[in-house]
C-alpha cells in the first residue's frame, strides 16, 4: 500500500456522504471525485465503513428485548401465560403443544412475542367488525372465523394487496403445505402503528397464527410500501421449519385449492 493516507478531505467527504454539503460544494466535490481516483476510493472506503457499522448494529438487533421492558409497555405482558420468551430465542407461541414451538433466531423474536401478544393484536383487531374480540382469540392463536382476516386468508389471492375495512393493508405472499399436511399462508399486514409479517395455518376450517414478526424497518405511519419486501428473517425461520422439503404453490395451484375449499384437488 502507498504511505500514510491523506485525511484532509475526510470532513468534506463525510458531509458529502450524508448529503449535508451545500449544492455548490457538492458540485465542486463531484467534479473533484471525477478526476481523482484516490479521492473516489477514499469515499468508497468511507461508505464501506458506514455499512460495516450498520451491520454491527443490525447484528445487535438480533437479540431479544428484555421481558421487563416489554412488560412495561403492554397490559398483557406481566400476566400473560400465552406468550413467553424462554432462553431468549425460543418463542412459545400461544397454546397447543409442541408443534407451536418454533425457533426464530432473530430478535425480532422478542418482538414476535410482543407483536403476537400486542402489536399484531392491535393490527388484527382493526380488521374485525364490531365486537368480535380479537385479543383473546389472537392470543390463543385462532383467527375468529367471522372476521375479515379469516375471509382474506380463506379466499385471498397471493400477491394482490388489499385494504381491509379497518384501513389495514394486507397482502398474502405465498401458500404452502406444511409437514403436518396443513395449508399455511404467509402474509403482510401494515397499519398505522407498524407492519408485521405473519404465518397462519389452516386446521379444521380455521386459521391459526403460527408466527408473527414485527417489521422494524417500516416506521409507524409509513404506508404499506415502506414495509420490508421479501420475508423477514424470523418468518423465514418459521417457514423453513414448517415447509419441510415442499415448495410454495404456483398461482394456478393456489387458485384451484381455494376454489376447492382448501381440499386437495384429486389428481
Amino acid at each position: 500500500m502507498s504511505g500514510k493516507a491523506d485525511t484532509s478531505d475526510d470532513a468534506i467527504l463525510s458531509a458529502y456522504l450524508d448529503e449535508e454539503l451545500s449544492p455548490d460544494d457538492t458540485r465542486r466535490l463531484k467534479d473533484r471525485l471525477a478526476g481523482d481516483p484516490e479521492l473516489a476510493r477514499r469515499l468508497e472506503q468511507m461508505r464501506n465503513a458506514d455499512l460495516a457499522v450498520r451491520n454491527v448494529f443490525d447484528a445487535a438487533d438480533e437479540r431479544p428485548f428484555p421481558q421487563s421492558v416489554l412488560e412495561l409497555l403492554t397490559d398483557k405482558g406481566a400476566n400473560s401465560p400465552q406468550v413467553r420468551s424462554e432462553e431468549g430465542n425460543v418463542v412459545r407461541f400461544p397454546a397447543r403443544g409442541l408443534r407451536r414451538y418454533f425457533q426464530a433466531p432473530i430478535a425480532i423474536a422478542a418482538s414476535v412475542a410482543l407483536a403476537a401478544g400486542f402489536l399484531a393484536g392491535d393490527i388484527v383487531r382493526r380488521t374485525l367488525d364490531g365486537d368480535v374480540g380479537v385479543g383473546p382469540s389472537l392470543y390463543a392463536g385462532t383467527i375468529p372465523p367471522t372476521s375479515e382476516l379469516h375471509d382474506f386468508l380463506e379466499s385471498g389471492v397471493s400477491g394482490a394487496p388489499q385494504v381491509l375495512a379497518s384501513g389495514v393493508s394486507a397482502k398474502l405472499l405465498l401458500t404452502f403445505e406444511n409437514r403436518d399436511s396443513d395449508w399455511c399462508r404467509q402474509l403482510q399486514l401494515a397499519a398505522e402503528t407498524g407492519s408485521v409479517q405473519a404465518l397462519a395455518c389452516r386446521r379444521n376450517g380455521s386459521w391459526e397464527m403460527e408466527a408473527v414478526a414485527f417489521d422494524a424497518n417500516a416506521s409507524p405511519g409509513s404506508d404499506y410500501r415502506a414495509a420490508s419486501s421479501g420475508s423477514l428473517p424470523a418468518l423465514e425461520a418459521a417457514i423453513d421449519e414448517q415447509i419441510g422439503s415442499g415448495e410454495p404453490l404456483a398461482p394456478e395451484e393456489e387458485s384451484r385449492l381455494i376454489s376447492n375449499g382448501w381440499r386437495k384437488p384429486d389428481k
Binding site: M1, A5, T7, D10, A11, L13, S14, A15, L17, D18, E20, R42, Q45, M46, N48, A49, D50, L51, A52, V53, R54, N55, V56, F57, D58, A59, A60, D61, E62, R63, F65, P66, S68, V69, L70, L72, L73, T74, D75, P105, S111, L114, F118, L119, D122, T193, G194, F214, A216, S219, P220, G221, P233
Partner: protein, 161 residues
C-alpha cells in the same frame, strides 16, 4: 387504552441501538433501555412526531446524569458482553461485506470515544440529519460534523489493513 405505548414499542430497536452506541455494551444497553422506558412512562409520552427524538434525549440524559457513573464503576468486573462480543451471528448480507469482518468493526467501535460512536450511530445507522442529531445530543451542528468525520477517519484507517 392509550396506544402511545405502541409507538414506543415500535421504536424500541432504535432506542436500544442508540443506547448501545452510548454504553458500548449489550447488557448496559438493555439496562439503559429499561431506565429510559420507565422514565418516559413516568413523565408522560409526548405527541406523535416527537416520540423518537424525545426518547433518545431521555436516554442520553439518563446515561449522562445517572447511569454512566455507575457503569464505569462496574466496568472492571464486566465480562465480554460488549459491542464486541463474538457471539453475534452473521448472516449472508453481512458476509457480503467482503474483507471487513464483523469482529474487526466491533473492535474499532468499542475503542472509539462514546461521543463519536453516538453521532455515528444517529447519522449512519438511524439516518438522522446533522440538525436532528445535534438536537438529540444537544451539541452544535459543527460538532456533529467533526465528530462524524473523526469517527469515519478512524474506521477507514483501522479497517484498511
Amino acid at each position: 387504552m392509550s396506544d402511545r405505548r405502541q409507538e414506543v414499542i415500535a421504536i424500541l430497536p432504535n432506542i436500544r441501538r442508540f443506547a448501545l452506541s452510548l454504553t458500548g455494551s449489550m447488557a448496559d444497553a438493555d439496562d439503559l433501555l429499561q431506565a429510559t422506558v420507565e422514565r418516559m412512562l413516568d413523565r408522560g409520552l409526548p405527541d406523535d412526531a416527537a416520540m423518537l427524538p424525545y426518547s433518545l434525549k431521555t436516554c442520553r440524559n439518563l446515561w449522562i446524569d445517572e447511569i454512566r457513573a455507575q457503569k464505569v464503576r462496574q466496568a472492571a468486573a464486566s465480562s465480554g458482553d460488549a459491542l464486541l462480543s463474538g457471539s453475534t451471528t452473521m448472516c449472508g448480507e453481512q458476509q457480503a461485506l467482503g474483507e471487513i469482518s464483523l469482529g474487526e468493526v466491533q473492535a474499532v467501535l468499542a475503542e472509539m470515544p462514546e461521543e463519536q460512536r453516538a453521532v455515528l450511530e444517529l447519522v449512519a445507522v438511524e439516518g438522522f440529519s446533522y440538525r436532528e442529531a445535534a438536537e438529540v445530543l444537544d451539541i452544535p451542528i459543527g460538532t456533529v460534523m467533526s465528530r462524524l468525520a473523526r469517527g469515519r477517519t478512524t474506521l477507514v484507517e483501522r479497517l484498511r489493513n
